[in-house]
């Protein structure tokens, strides 16, 4: 019998909201408001420019957590995190957004582990550019939560599916690496 836990979409949304709001209030001192997630689990929200950060999850359930935003909002977040001013996306901004994503997805993972069992977390990968789209190579449907901060929108999204075989026993994640298209 498969004794791995199950989790509802609402629980994933709740974990994403709670984690994101905590990271923003504690580390950034920014107020952020969760928008309405799409009614159905949606394909990954795919901005065609800006930043996309990806973190792999592995264990009895595996998948990917992601944060996507514009370059302008990335600079705003980095400026608040590091108490410095950034007007352009540079190495420091990319690193800051990677760490913000790490904290958000890490805390989502901790919340979900109560039901899904222990999962491992990869180090973040940050993609920045223009005219690209991301697609998951295998799965899947994503749970997407948009957040508003002033005029900017940021998407926090997670896709998870029960893992099979060796993958289910390993806590060392790769991630469902997206194919990246130039459009």
């Amino acid at each position: 019998m498969d004794n791995r836990g199950q989790i509802s979409r609402e629980e994933v949304i709740c974990a994403i909201k709670s984690s994101t709001e905590e990271v923003f209030s504690t580390m950034l001192g920014l107020e952020i408001q969760a928008g309405e997630p799409p009614v159905e689990t949606a394909p990954a929200a795919s901005p065609t420019s800006g930043l996309v950060t990806l973190i792999g999850l592995a264990g009895p359930w595996s998948g990917t957590g992601s944060v996507a935003c514009t370059g302008v909002f990335a600079c705003t977040m980095a400026s608040h995190l590091l108490a410095s001013s950034f007007e352009n996306v540079n190495e420091e901004v990319l690193d800051a957004i990677g760490e913000i994503t790490n904290m958000i997805i890490g805390n989502v993972k901790t919340a979900l582990e109560e039901k899904l069992g222990e999962m491992g977390l990869s180090t973040p990968t940050v993609i920045f550019g223009r005219n690209f789209q991301t697609r998951s190579a295998r799965i899947q449907e994503w749970t997407v939560v948009p957040f508003r901060c002033g005029e900017e929108t940021m998407y926090v999204q997670v896709c998870l599916a029960p893992a099979a075989g060796e993958t289910a026993r390993s806590l060392r994640p790769g991630f469902q690496i997206p194919q990246i298209f130039t459009i």
Binding site: L81, L82, M103, G106, E113, S122
Partner: protein
């Protein structure tokens, strides 16, 4: 005055912790940084570090591997290591404590939490 080593693969977190420590009104000497466990060991071999703050999820050598190595080797057996990590599950905290961690701070953190956790070492 204690010299402190911050171990985290994120330069952003290293910078934030440097700032928090400098503003904490505790008698700190020098603050050193390392991007992973291996770099941390190199620094520890060269410096007299009195306290380590370490992330867990890092490339090359992660924080728990670093902690295990330190607790198994004489010069560092009694060196206090405080974990600062997004890993917040009870299982992970327990694992770190069983390996010999002197404290555990979950990310996201605020300055007060760091100061409170470090007060016992000064």
């Amino acid at each position: 005055m204690l010299d402190i080593l911050i171990v985290d693969d994120s330069a952003a977190i290293r910078k934030i912790l440097q700032r928090v420590l400098r503003q904490a009104e505790i008698p700190i000497g020098s603050i050193y940084e390392a991007g992973d466990g291996k770099e941390a060991l190199e620094t520890l071999q060269q410096r007299q570090i009195g306290l380590v703050l370490s992330d867990i999820n890092m490339p090359n050598m992660n924080g728990l591997e670093l902690l295990s190595h330190l607790k198994a080797n004489d010069p560092w057996k009694n060196l206090p290591v405080v974990m600062v990590s997004t890993e917040g599950s009870q299982a992970k905290v327990l694992e770190a404590v069983q390996l010999g961690a002197a404290g555990y701070v979950r990310k996201p953190f605020n300055a007060e939490q760091i100061k409170e956790k470090l007060a016992q070492f000064f």
